[in-house]
Every structure is written in structure tokens, then in C-alpha cells.
């Protein structure tokens, strides 16, 4: 495994030739990798046709470099439903049957419940398939590491489904973060608020438990693991650092339906230099939804899945590109909208209408996956990165569940 790069802001600036130069070119860069092109569409299989699997099929349909040829799920009703989205796909009840019978499949998307990622991912790699696996990679660190070891041995692509790594808005904002726009990092925070039950309907009562694995403490990583893993990884991606300690707490504030998994949590992740990331998630309220914030001495960056903004301090130096920037008012603060391909959009007179991502973040991640297969380039998010993010998510859930601090050692982060 390649150890995580210890990012140092000043050495990056030296390499970039100074902050002003770096910032000036950032908006010019294309942050969305072009959609891959393949003369023969790559035959892709989906393993797990639940709500998320269906969303992934929608995105795969938009990518001309692939064709969904097989889908597997244990629930016949879901298979029937997915056939309405992927017309020619063969359907199977098990991934083993899929791998055995759909020999033409070249790549597999693993979108099963978290605790059921390992089996299909390992078997697909053993069968010589490229694998895109949702994150967290597994519900235990041991399972995640086993998957990473298999990926290291395989000659095929393995991409961990950590969506920030492919999101053009996040990639653009990362450029600003690493080029001194934020300057000294003061603190970090994130939240994931959405009023919902976190229950999933089953086609028959016998499948209720299976469908509601998120509420089963023996396999679920709770809000901290299932949602937090993706958001904590934004901070790993930007800083190349991982927390050393996590504390947390959780309770049931709304859904008193005999569940044991907390519907409202908060965590504090402490990094080696003392910087802290505070995180809150709830299923009881939707205000402000999902976001991640980096507060620095020059500016704050706020990222909200399809949108991003830069909030400058009044004493921060002004950059030339800001003259053309689109701005948005948030109560007393004015945010500069961070738009991928801003210059191109401005030249087309579309700057204002193009403030959000044209496609979903899943589209860009799947596009990157296919591009790696077509170009033979390394995965944008390796299994090792997936292990590190998964370990942090598992630790955060443990802290929330027990109410006790959980240490994250270098050893734990190794794949």
C-alpha cells in the first residue's frame, strides 16, 4: 500500500509557483473528465437492485461506453422493476449465478448492503472482472482489508465508491483549498440532515429484516458509518490526513419504533495537529441538508454535493478571476459560487444557469470507473483509500454507539 501523502500547504505552493498563479489558473481547468468512449460498449453487471442500485442504473444508461447486461438481486420484485430500466439485462437471484452465466460481463457494480459487499466483490475479482464497490467497503475493517488485498493482486480496476473523488465541484474546490485560498485551517464541520425513516419497504413481510439491514446493529454502521464515511473522506481527500481520535454520541430523537440505531448523532474527529472536524447527522430534520465546510484564516469553503461556495474574509487578497465570479447571498455572507468549467460557461453565457452539476455525482464516479477501464489508467479511488475511509467510518460509529473515545492508529489504516 502507498502510505497517505502528508500534505503540506507551503511545499505545494512552492511546487505550484505561488498562490496567485495557482489560483488564477484554477477556474480554467476542466474538472470533469470527459465521458469515456468505447467502440464496443463495456458489458456491465449490477449486483444489488435496491433504491441505490436503481439510481446507479439510471446513471449507467447515460454513459455510452457501457451497457447494463446483467442484474442480480435476491428480491424478484426488484428484478422485475429494474427490467423496466435496463431492457436487455439478464436477471439473476445470486451473484454466483450471474458470474457463471453472464460470461460477457467485464465490469461489476457492487451495490448490495454494506455487510454483503465482500462476497460479490471478491468473487468478481477472482473471475477477472473490474469492480466498482460502494463505500463503506464493508462493515468490518477485516473484510475491507481482505477486499483491498484481493484488489492489489488483481490486474483489473477496483474503484471505491467515494463520490467526492470524482465530483467536479469538489475537485475544483480542492484546487482552491490546496492553493492557499483558505490558508490556515481553523476548523472543519459537516452535517447530513434529512427527515426520513431510514426504513425500506419489502415486497413481502419475510424480507422486512433483510430490507432494513441499516437498522440492524449487528451489521449496520449507523449514520456515522453509512453516511459519515463519504463525508469524512472529503476531508481526507482535501488534506491527505486522517483523524487520530474520534468521540461521539447518539440518541433516538424522532423515530421511536423500537429501533436501536440512533437517528441523531454527533461526532468530533481530531487530527494529529489538533484540527477538529465536527459532524452531525439526523433523520429527524432536513434543514440545510448535507454539506462539508472548511474554515480557514482567509476563507471558508462550503461544499454541498452538487454545489460549492467560497466565503472570503474581508482582509483576504483579491484575485482577478473573482471579477467574473457568480455570487450568492446567504444571510450576511456572500458566497462566490465554485463552478467547474466556469470560463467555458461564461463564454457561452451560461454561467448563472450552470451553478450546479449537470449530472449526479454518481454519474461522474461511474464515468471515471469506465474511463479507467478504457484507458487502462489507475482507479481514481483505490481499494486502499476505501479501506482508510471505511476504518474511520467504523471508528466513528463505534464512538457513537459506546459513547467512548476511539483511537485510530496508523496500523488500523493499513490495507
Amino acid at each position: 500500500m502507498t502510505p497517505p501523502m502528508d500534505f503540506d500547504r507551503r511545499s505545494f505552493l512552492a511546487a505550484a509557483g505561488g498562490s496567485l498563479a495557482a489560483m488564477a489558473v484554477m477556474p480554467e481547468l476542466g474538472f470533469a473528465r470527459p465521458a469515456p468512449v468505447s467502440a464496443d460498449p463495456i458489458p456491465v453487471a449490477l449486483i444489488g437492485a435496491g433504491r441505490h442500485g436503481r439510481a446507479l442504473v439510471d446513471e449507467l444508461q447515460k454513459l455510452e461506453a457501457c451497457r447494463v447486461v446483467a442484474v442480480c438481486d435476491t428480491d424478484p420484485a426488484r428484478l422485475e422493476s429494474i427490467k423496466r430500466r435496463a431492457k436487455d439485462a439478464a436477471t439473476y437471484a445470486t451473484h454466483a449465478e450471474l458470474l457463471e452465466k453472464s460470461k460477457d460481463v467485464k465490469a461489476v457494480i457492487v451495490a448490495t448492503p454494506t455487510h454483503l459487499h465482500k462476497g460479490p466483490a471478491l468473487d468478481a475479482m477472482a473471475a477477472g472482472k473490474h469492480v466498482f464497490c460502494e463505500a463503506p467497503l464493508a462493515h468490518t475493517a477485516e473484510d475491507a482489508r481482505e477486499m483491498a488485498r484481493a484488489a492489489a493482486k488483481a490486474s483489473t480496476i477496483f474503484q471505491s465508491g467515494l463520490y467526492a473523488r470524482s465530483n467536479p465541484v469538489y475537485k475544483l474546490a480542492r484546487g482552491f483549498f490546496r492553493s492557499d485560498s483558505v490558508r490556515d485551517l481553523i476548523c472543519m464541520r459537516a452535517q447530513n440532515f434529512k427527515k426520513q425513516t431510514w426504513r425500506f419497504p419489502a415486497s413481502d413481510p419475510a424480507r422486512e429484516r433483510e430490507a432494513n439491514w441499516r437498522l440492524d446493529p449487528s451489521v449496520s454502521l449507523g449514520l456515522a458509518g453509512e453516511l459519515g464515511t463519504h463525508q469524512f473522506d472529503v476531508f481526507h481527500y482535501y488534506t491527505s490526513k486522517y483523524p487520530k481520535m474520534v468521540t461521539g454520541a447518539g440518541s433516538i430523537r424522532l423515530h421511536n419504533d423500537s429501533r436501536e440505531i440512533a437517528d441523531t448523532i454527533d461526532c468530533a474527529l481530531t487530527f494529529a495537529d489538533g484540527a477538529r472536524l465536527t459532524y452531525m447527522a439526523t433523520l429527524g430534520n432536513s434543514y440545510e441538508g448535507r454539506y462539508e465546510v472548511f474554515n480557514g484564516s482567509n476563507a471558508a469553503i462550503k461544499l454541498a454535493w452538487s454545489h460549492g461556495w467560497l466565503f472570503k474574509e474581508s482582509d483576504a487578497p483579491t484575485q482577478g478571476w473573482e471579477v467574473y465570479a457568480n455570487r450568492q447571498q446567504f444571510h450576511n455572507d456572500e458566497g462566490i459560487t465554485l463552478i467547474a468549467d466556469a470560463t467555458k460557461l461564461a463564454s457561452q453565457g451560461k454561467l448563472k444557469e450552470g451553478v450546479g452539476l449537470p449530472y449526479s455525482p454518481q454519474y461522474y464516479a461511474l464515468s471515471d470507473f469506465l474511463a479507467s477501464i478504457v484507458d487502462g489508467k489507475p482507479s481514481v479511488c483505490s481499494a486502499d483509500e476505501g479501506v482508510r475511509a471505511t476504518v474511520v467510518g467504523i471508528a466513528a460509529n463505534e464512538a457513537v454507539r459506546t459513547g467512548k473515545p476511539v483511537e485510530i492508529t496508523e496500523e488500523m489504516l493499513k490495507a
Binding site: 433504491r51 439510471d58 422493476s81 423496466r84 435496463a86 426504513r199 419497504p201 415486497s203 422486512e208 454519474y363
Partner: protein, 309 residues
């Protein structure tokens, strides 16, 4: 157990009333509906650059692969266009722009011609629109909400929920099976002395009021276009249609509004019920698929339009 839920999507408010099972199961099914509607919006909104509709419009004649559900929706649109004599047309985008319903007015345009250039290849599940942007642009806004309700009902059925009523912004309605002990769902039409009774059927309601712009002659123009003339529809002040699907009902209610009273004589098998309110306020209705007088056969789809006291 009756469960009531609501959420915002497709620039309107969706509401659902579901019956059967315990509350947590119905709430979970309602959340699945929300995810389904949001995914439908991602696919069909022409405001979203990544949607299928935006991709078809941007492809300028090149074939675009679509999913079977969207393909069936486009086929429905083409069928209603044909059977209504062009009164329904999902390529009125340039007309909407010309009349100022999509920002600044771009000046008057002629009749819509886009459907002549929409090609549907069923075997390949591919679509192309081989015309210049000025001649026609696909805009499924008139039927997307109904389609979302159809998908929602399929999702609910998959979750074992059979009894319920769903609506999007009150203009698109889908009645599933009636609550325990009831024959059907009753829906009132605002501002009209009429009631519709529905069982396993979609209902679409169209009216030119709501969004209006000032026309050149000083009058106000409603947002429903007559694709045949390229001008705002003046055939009726309100129209309602009942069909087996909510998307079909949406398409036909738009067509009925454009056709006005002439729509009452139209012989279309797909149209289970219809109601048209003329400019003069006359209310005319017709039901093709009402309940049998002896009460048999009521488990299937049916509707009844009633006017007056």
C-alpha cells in the same frame, strides 16, 4: 391505518394518502415514492442538462439510448399527438419561449412541427429528434408529473401497498384501489360544479390560468399552447381527462383544453372519462368506463364524471 405524506419535487408539491399495514411500513413506501419521483425528475426535466430530455434536444438528430419506461412515455406522447390531431405536442418548447414562459419572449413562432421529426426505434430503445432547435424541442413538462405518479404506484405495488391516492400539484392525480369499505376515490374539481369518482385510474386537469403573460394586443395569454396555431389555447377554460395511466390523463387533459368543446365528440378508446368547461362556462362531461349498475366488475379500473347538484 391511513398514512399521509408530502414532499416537494418537479417544482410542485406531491401528496399521498396510503392505506394498509403499519405506519412505519407505509412511511418507508412513501420514501421510496419520493426517491422514484426525484429520479424521474432527473431523467425528464428539460431544466437539468443531464436529463434524457436535455440529451435528446442537444443530440440534434443523433440517436440517444433511453430506458424502456421513458421510451413508453414518448410512445404515449406520440400516440396522443396523433389521436388528438396535433392538439397535444411535447415539442412546444420554442412556443413557450416565444411567448415568454421561459424568460424573455423571443417573438411569435408558427405551429409546432417537432413531432414530425421525433423518431422512436423500439427495437433499439433509441430516440432522435432530427430538427433544428428553432423548429421543436422536446419538453415533457405536461406529462412528466403523471408519469412520476405511475412510477410511484408501481413502486408502491412492489412494496405491497395497493390502496392509495397520489397527486402532484392537484393537476395530476392517480387513484389506486379505494380505502377498505369504500368503492372508489372521489375528487372535486375546484371552481367547477363537478365530481369525479375514480378507481385505479389517472386523472389530469388542465387550465390556462395560473401562469399567464401579457400578449401583444394587451390581453393575457395562458401557458397552454395550441401547437396547431402556435398561439395560446383558447378552446376551453378547464379540461379534465381520466385514463388508465396518470401520464395518459395528463396528455389528454392538455389536448382537451386545446380542442375545447370539439373534444366531446372525439372517439378515443384510451379516454375513459372527460370534462370540458367552455369559455361561456358550460360544463360537459362524458364517462366511457363507469361502474356497472349491478356493482360487478368494480375491482377493475373505472371512473365516473358527474356534473350539477
Amino acid at each position: 391505518m391511513i398514512f399521509r405524506g408530502a414532499f416537494e419535487a418537479m417544482r410542485t408539491r406531491f401528496e399521498l394518502v396510503l392505506e394498509g399495514g403499519d405506519e412505519s411500513r407505509l412511511a418507508a413506501a412513501a420514501e421510496d415514492v419520493r426517491a422514484e419521483v426525484e429520479a424521474c425528475e432527473e431523467r425528464l426535466s428539460h431544466f437539468r442538462p443531464g436529463s434524457i430530455v436535455a440529451r435528446i434536444n442537444a443530440a440534434r438528430g443523433r440517436r440517444v439510448r433511453v430506458d424502456p419506461e421513458t421510451f413508453d412515455l414518448l410512445r404515449l406522447a406520440a400516440r396522443v399527438h396523433r389521436d388528438s390531431g396535433g392538439a397535444f405536442d411535447p415539442t412546444v418548447g420554442p412556443l413557450m419561449r416565444a411567448w415568454g414562459f421561459r424568460g424573455e419572449s423571443t417573438g411569435e413562432a408558427g405551429p409546432a412541427r417537432g413531432m414530425e421529426h421525433l423518431h422512436l426505434d423500439e427495437a433499439a430503445c433509441e430516440v432522435s429528434l432530427d430538427c433544428e432547435a428553432s423548429a421543436g424541442q422536446l419538453d415533457l413538462g405536461a406529462i412528466a408529473k403523471g408519469h412520476a405518479l405511475d412510477l410511484a404506484a408501481a413502486r408502491l405495488a412492489e412494496a405491497g401497498v395497493r390502496r392509495g391516492l397520489l397527486h402532484a400539484g392537484t393537476s395530476s392525480v392517480l387513484a389506486m384501489e379505494a380505502p377498505e369499505g369504500s368503492r372508489a376515490w372521489k375528487v372535486g374539481l375546484a371552481g367547477v360544479d363537478a365530481r369525479v369518482t375514480l378507481h385505479r385510474m389517472g386523472l389530469g386537469v388542465s387550465a390556462p390560468h395560473g401562469r399567464v403573460v401579457a400578449a401583444a394586443d394587451g390581453t393575457s395569454a395562458g401557458h397552454v399552447m395550441d401547437p396547431r396555431t402556435g398561439r395560446p389555447a383558447i378552446g376551453a377554460t378547464l379540461a379534465a381527462a381520466a385514463c388508465a395511466t396518470a401520464a395518459g390523463a395528463d396528455a389528454w387533459s392538455t389536448a382537451l383544453l386545446v380542442l375545447g368543446e370539439a373534444a366531446m365528440d372525439l372517439d378515443v378508446r384510451e379516454l375513459a372519462g372527460r370534462l370540458v368547461v367552455s369559455e361561456g362556462g358550460d360544463v360537459r362531461s362524458r364517462s366511457e368506463a363507469g361502474p356497472r349498475p349491478d356493482g360487478t366488475g368494480e375491482s377493475g379500473p373505472w371512473c365516473l364524471f358527474e356534473t350539477g347538484a
